[in-house]
């Protein structure tokens, strides 16, 4: 065996084993991913989304602190943890509440409020029903952070499988045309060609979605690094400050002072003092930009929740921004309905590549076993 044959053999083994380990999980991810592409639309059709009624353009908004009264009335024994605005839901503010400020992150009673009237439009439920089950399967298989990181590992194997597949493409296709699919000889040959063709055509998409998926599985780690890094630097002056008591400064003012500092950006989410995205003494007001890209790169401002003064505002560190940009590139939700449809088609092609790969492994094994059997029979028939 010469060097190049040995190399090809080695890549083949890498391709076989990485694929064998990750294929079933990847199939699950691709299949659950299909409905998740249309999460928004399905949620909308299921009637689990707040809709603001039509009103004359320029109808004034109420002060945020007055809007929050509606939320407090809805869940009188809860505390507010987050307040957020969604780009594609104008005139609606959503308040996320829980029975205590340090309740687990999975606990959230949501109240969607009309910003112009203060009317409660909806109490959206996110943690029940079919789509929630699909979402949980896709993200962590109902196994928390362990399940999440495990899927990240499977994603890494998928990336290695793609790279080894690329390494095999050259020697296999040396004598053949791009796009060739031989149907006349055997079903194994047809599906080998199909696997190679579909795999190479969609390799950039699969690499990007696979790798950004892996990055998304590190979200808890990224949050932790940000908390011990930039966030703790920003709140360092308050390390020994006395606990907050009494009423907080108005949220309206906190938002105003943040907007004054970044007039081009919009408030995306506010974290209340004591939640995981801020200190025990600050509102964290996160602002976003206006393009599909800059709307993902949110920027935190910390506002003293007693004095109402802005104490610090920074750009997120690169690894947080990397996570933020990985999200759209994984979800495919940043280019309208045509992008979602294309995403679906790429996903279906990936499913075909996975299943045909599995089939080729079975078929090859069967062929090998048959050959061994044949040799054994011959040995018995004609003893050496």
């Amino acid at each position: 065996m010469d060097v190049s044959k040995k190399t090809v053999r080695a890549w083949f083994e890498v391709h076989k084993w990485t694929s064998l380990i990750c294929t079933l999980f990847l199939l699950m991810l691709c299949i659950t991913g299909l409905p998740l592409i249309f999460y928004e639309e399905i949620n909308h059709l299921a009637g689990n989304e707040a809709e603001a009624p039509e009103m004359p353009l320029g109808t004034p908004r109420m002060k945020i602190d007055d809007l929050l009264v509606s939320a407090r009335k809805t869940y009188p024994d809860n505390v507010i943890r987050y307040v957020y605005w969604e780009e594609d839901h104008p005139n609606i503010v959503t308040v996320s509440m829980a029975d205590s400020i340090d309740a687990p992150p999975t606990v959230a009673n949501l109240v969607a409020i009309d910003e112009r009237t203060g009317a409660v439009l909806k109490q959206p439920k996110f943690d029940e029903g079919f789509m929630y089950a699909v979402y949980k399967l896709h993200v962590d298989m109902f196994a928390g952070i362990i399940g999440k990181l495990f899927l990240g590992l499977m994603g890494l194997l998928f990336v290695v499988a793609i790279i080894s597949g690329i390494m095999l493409y050259s020697p296999i296709m040396r004598k053949f045309n791009f796009g060739m699919v031989r149907t006349e000889k055997s079903s194994r040959l047809k599906w080998l060609d199909m696997h190679n063709m579909l795999g190479v055509v969609t390799l950039a998409w699969a690499l990007v979605v696979g790798f950004t998926g892996v990055i998304n599985t590190t979200s808890e780690i990224v949050l932790g690094l940000w908390q011990v890094g930039q966030l703790s630097e920003m709140v360092a002056p308050y390390k020994d400050a006395a606990p907050l008591e009494g009423d907080l400064s108005p949220l309206e003012d906190a938002i105003e002072v943040t907007q004054a500092k970044e007039p081009e950006m919009h408030v995306s989410i506010v974290a209340y003092p004591g939640t995981m995205f801020t200190s025990k003494h600050h509102y964290a007001v996160f602002v976003r930009g206006n393009t599909p890209m800059t709307s993902r790169l949110i920027k935190p401002a910390l506002i003293d929740a007693k004095s109402g003064a802005l104490t610090d505002m920074r750009t997120m560190p690169w690894f947080v921004n990397a996570l933020f940009l990985s999200q759209p590139l994984h979800f495919g939700d940043y280019g309208g309905m045509p992008l979602k449809v294309l995403w679906t088609l790429f996903d279906i092609v990936t499913i075909i590549v996975l299943i045909s790969g599995l089939y080729l492994w079975f078929a090859r094994r069967k062929a090998q076993l048959a050959r061994i059997e044949e040799l054994e029979e011959r040995e018995i028939a004609v003893p050496a």
Partner: protein
């Protein structure tokens, strides 16, 4: 050798470049950028349909035997 590498990889690299462009274009802006993104990403998808549903000898400079 060099020529063969180009021959094998010409179309895959072109499709990968279109894919990456398409993925980033929709992130860069709206309007025309979205349109360019859809067009670019439609090429690999159309290739899958073309070669998958109408199987044949594929495309290339060299004739296959």
């Amino acid at each position: 050798m060099q020529n063969n590498f180009i021959r094998v990889w010409k179309y895959p690299v072109l499709l990968a470049a279109l894919t990456v462009f398409g993925l980033l274009a929709a992130l860069a802006g709206t309007g025309i950028w979205h349109l360019l993104s859809w067009l670019a990403l439609a090429v690999p998808v159309a290739s899958c349909i073309r070669f998958g549903f109408f199987p044949g000898r594929g495309i290339g400079v060299k004739k296959t035997t």
